[in-house]
């Protein structure tokens, strides 16, 4: 095993809940004691539904919010204090869910990609933009176009090119294909796989789509209500899910073949509100 590039150690983020008078009355445990590590060049998937804390983890890694307790280590160094700095930003980049809203409509594609390249000379910048567009398999002429002229898949390629502009080592992918058609999604996933191999990138892949997770991530962590309920090699977790919630999640996936259907655990679907992880386990044992 290669050494870990990113490590989360007992990571937690609690948001205070205030009464109408402004007194602190409690806390929402958005992320609660999460630990995982991603090896250099690895693809780690965080699977979870809304409210599971997966986006909060992404925000903490990006330095957009600070952990309440616990630590995030990049290459063995705590990111606290360095997360907002340029040097850190050039190592960790993010691709957002909706390329329609993460690209500035008033900037041409070339201008958008050039933002992280301000240190280069004009000529070197133009050459780098060409190179980056080539990496995401778009023609160099697209640098002069605007986001509204591009399809959703092309826009997401631009967002990937922009994230790669400063040659990062870790790419955080927050539901990068959930706004796209399935045929476009397949192409974006192929592209990411290829880029990861070529550039020796490390990916943190955040998604609620388990089928996609199975096909892309090497290791997976299943998040439920802020806690990591199960983690392991993807094939292992999917073949032999150990936690009741993982089984429920797998049982819920709509599939297109009998082979896949056979893989889904036979558990009753929950009717109504979602229970806590402990209640889920108790329900299964009954």
């Amino acid at each position: 095993m290669t050494r870990p590039l990113l490590e989360a150690v007992n990571l937690a983020k609690h948001y205070p809940v205030k009464s109408p008078l402004g007194f602190k009355t409690g806390a929402v445990r958005a992320v609660d004691g999460v630990s995982f590590s991603i090896p250099e060049g690895g693809i780690y998937g965080l699977a979870g539904e809304s409210g599971s804390g997966k986006s909060t983890i992404a925000r903490m890694i990006m330095g957009l919010t600070t952990p309440t307790s616990g630590a995030l280590l990049l290459g063995g160094r705590d990111i606290a204090g360095q997360a907002g700095r340029r040097a850190y930003r050039s190592k960790v980049q993010m691709v957002f869910q909706n390329p329609g809203s993460s690209l500035n409509p008033r900037r041409s594609i070339g201008q958008s990609i050039a933002v992280p390249l301000s240190g280069l000379s004009r000529r070197a910048r133009a050459a780098r933009i060409d190179e980056l567009l080539g990496m995401v398999q778009l023609p160099a002429s697209y640098a002069r176009r605007y986001p509204h002229e591009l399809s959703g898949g092309q826009r997401q390629r631009v967002a990937i090119a922009r994230a790669l502009a400063c040659a990062p080592r870790l790419l955080v992918l927050d539901e990068p294909t959930s706004a796209l058609d399935v045929s476009v999604q397949a192409k974006i996933i192929d592209l990411l796989t290829e880029l990861g191999r070529e550039l020796n990138l490390t990916f943190l892949f955040i998604s609620h789509d388990l089928s996609l997770m199975r096909n892309f991530a090497e290791e997976v962590g299943v998040l439920y209500l802020g806690k990591l309920v199960e983690t392991g090699p993807t094939a292992e977790v999917f073949a032999r899910p150990r936690h009741a919630y993982t089984r429920l999640l797998l049982a819920s996936v709509p599939v297109i073949s009998d082979e896949e259907a056979a893989l889904r655990p036979q558990v009753p679907l929950i009717d109504g509100e979602m229970p806590t992880a402990e209640q889920l386990i108790a329900m299964e044992q009954r």
Binding site: S183, I189, L212, E236, L248, V255, I256, S257, M274
Partner: protein, 286 residues
């Protein structure tokens, strides 16, 4: 017997003086008590087809150039508007995709369902008092498995979870005892475990009440779970139709094959129908 029959429907849109044909001779049949799916990617024309059936297309910009839509033997496109109004929302009704934008935030669920029922009754010339309406609202809310129908009827949309709101929309569609239910991507906005609940509920209701279901979706997994016959749309045309099982086992058209191939499998990468045996034996686990 065929309940709904769309024959050679062609629709075009005129915007800024330019006319684009978006549906080319679309034909599809929904027999009574059947479960039919209409699947396609964005821009395929599935939503325009649905809107034409329900009479929700704004004309202009849309124009129905040719074709017929028969409901129970009557052509919806040539019948008097009053007759069509009487059918819409009563004999044929719709489950919309986005519960947040289909419910009015300032009225209680009971108010909204009651109002819809009042106007449906008026169109059909039925007599029902306020108490009768309240009883009927509670009845349909119970049918969509709300544990406390009275409490739900008295609450506002924001007080309910996404899954509960979606069930309210299903209840709404059931108010006037329709024979045909058109569902537009129900559950797409929801978490996968909640979506599984909604699909199961819809299927159970359709089977218990002998309704015909036309499921409009982009998700092939949903097609397999909810339909027995499927129409595949691409660029405004029905490119393939087949019993659902056969479509997945032996897709005839290249487009359908590509679409199916693009779907990520729960069994993992590089496992196709040919290696299904391996999948059954352990999900590709090492």
């Amino acid at each position: 017997m065929t309940l709904l029959s769309v024959r050679d429907l062609s629709v075009s849109f005129t915007t800024y003086g330019r006319t684009t044909q978006v549906l080319h001779d679309v034909s599809l049949d929904v027999p009574a008590c059947s479960q039919i799916a209409l699947v396609g990617e964005s821009g395929s024309g599935k939503s325009v087809t649905m809107k034409a059936i329900m009479g929700l297309l704004s004309t202009p910009p849309a124009r129905i150039n040719s074709g017929q839509i028969f409901y129970d033997g009557e052509d919806l496109l040539t019948m008097p508007p009053a007759r069509r109004m009487a059918l819409r929302g009563t004999a044929m009704s719709m489950v919309f995709q986005d519960p947040m934008s289909s419910l009015n935030p300032v009225f209680t669920i009971g108010d909204q369902l009651g109002t819809i029922l009042k106007y449906a009754d008026r169109r059909l010339g039925r007599q029902r008092g306020r108490a009768g309406r309240r009883a009927r609202v509670a009845e349909v809310l119970a049918q969509v498995r709300m544990r406390e129908p009275e409490r739900v009827a008295g609450s506002y949309p924001m007080q309910l979870s996404g899954g509960m709101r979606q069930r309210v929309l299903i209840a709404m569609a059931l108010l006037s005892e329709p024979t045909l239910l058109i569902a537009d991507e129900p559950g797409t906005a929801l978490d996968v475990t909640t979506q599984a609940q909604i699909l199961k509920l819809l299927k159970d209701l359709v089977e218990a009440k002998d309704l015909a279901l036309l499921m409009i979706t982009h998700n092939l997994g949903v097609v397999r779970e909810t339909s027995s016959y499927v129409y595949v749309m691409h660029k405004g045309r029905v490119v393939e139709e087949a019993p659902t099982e056969r479509l997945f086992a032996a897709p005839a058209e290249q487009y359908t094959r590509d679409l199916i191939a693009a779907v990520p499998r729960l069994t993992g990468p590089a496992l196709t129908a040919a290696t299904g045996e391996a999948a059954r034996q352990g999900g590709g686990a090492p």
